[in-house]
Amino acid sequence: MNAKSLTCRECGFEYPLEARYVCERCFGPVEVAYDFSGLDGDAESLRRRIQAGPQNIWRYADFLPVDGLPAGAHAGLPVGSTPLVKADRLAAALGLGGEVWVKNDAHNPTHSFKDRVVAVASARARELGMTTLACASTGNLAGAVAAQAAALGLESYVFIPSNLEEQKILSTGVYGTKLVRVRGNYDDVNRLCTELSGERDWAFVNVNVRPYYAEGSKTLAYEIAEQLDWTVPDRIVAPIASGSLFTKLKKGFGEWRELGLIDGADPVMNGAQATGCSPVATAFAEGKDFCKPVKPDTIAKSLAIGNPADGPYALDIARKTGGSIEAVTDDEIRHGIKLLAETTGIFTETAGGVTTAVLKKLADQGVIGDQERTVIVITGDGLKTLDAVRGSFESYEVDPNMNDFITTVEGQALVS
């Protein structure tokens, strides 16, 4: 494998590729570091090697912290290779002259981008000899862990806030996981799991094997670049909860540029948060380089992380790429869901409503140029947050005859 060590993002201290998420010297988060010098050949042969790989994230195994391709009984659920859709009607609705593309990651096995990170975390956990998967989840991760554990024949424990949307609870419990509903918000769930991870021999995908888990998000950047014929979009709009996805998108593009697989500058990176949980957007607006924790109160529960540990890194990226981090209200989120659905046929959950609403906000501000190619990252499926669209449209009820249909629906009398 090309992964070489876990390196502290704060002080640079190095550790072996073990189950570790925090630097013992400064408590900073550790991240997987690579040495790609062993990759043979020029950029063109590297591209051919990727294209000859499977139609899932393991085509990028050279850039992930795993020993070769998980196969056979260890293959797990096939993840990734989700559609990148050109959204001309969405661009037109927003008055944008350039291109808008939608990366629809609801097309994963459990309908969110979390399948990517869980695939990498569970592959590495198995390599480290761990046999139980666990997670602290705002909902999407719960389903992804439960399903991947079922596919791999592993035991699993899934911890969620007790007030989570019913759709997410039902679509997690069905996989036969040990579902634990914690009386508290996500940050409480996260604290409990952090404590437990020190006392149990489990792979908490987003705690003690988090460095491997987080790398899975890079595959979104790789796919976008590959689907755009080995180019980088001018702008990315992506949601921010912990800030991990946002920072790994940047890392993915950066790695491929260094290897000569793609050219050009980094995309302008715009982060999207809900006003009811916007610690990173607030810090951005105030010019700060750290986030003050908040108590979340928003319909975008999958983004409801009040104390985002990767917030400082997300702030840095938004500033360095000339982007921003914006917040939108719950009403704007509902409108964003409708806008995306009506112009692209893609039904997203509240997090995607946040992302689409931020695209609209940027368009309204006039910051998106007429020549720009923008990609918005849609991370989850609308069927998981149905309450967000309840009452947002009208329907007709008719007797089963032509006359009533025409009177009620078409509003005119039958002409004989």
């Binding site: 989840s137 404590e195 987003n206 705690v207 992380i305 540990a309």
Partner: protein, 89 residues
């Protein structure tokens, strides 16, 4: 008297203890009492007298950054828990 619960990552520099009993009526003075007993913890938990960015301290389950930080009063018999910050998701 206050009990401070240490995460696994800090126990090796506290003689393997999972909990340490300290004095102090604020989070800051409780930490000072902890550092008196285990000096090496000072640099792990604080930097220039401030809580390190990736260290979280909870008073009876509440993050002290939501309260009054190191000035937060600690009631008699209170319990402080130190944990590394972890990004969620």
């Amino acid at each position: 008297m206050t009990v401070i619960k240490l995460p696994t990552q800090l126990r090796d520099v506290a003689g393997g203890a999972a909990e340490v009993t300290v004095d102090g009526d604020t989070v800051g003075s409780a930490l000072e009492s902890l550092f008196t007993q285990h000096e090496e913890l000072r640099g792990r938990i604080t930097e220039d007298g401030e809580l390190r960015r990736f260290v979280n301290i909870y008073l009876s389950g509440e993050d002290i950054r939501y309260l009054e930080g190191l000035e937060t009063p600690v009631p008699a018999g209170g319990e402080l828990t130190i944990l590394p910050a972890v990004a969620g998701g």
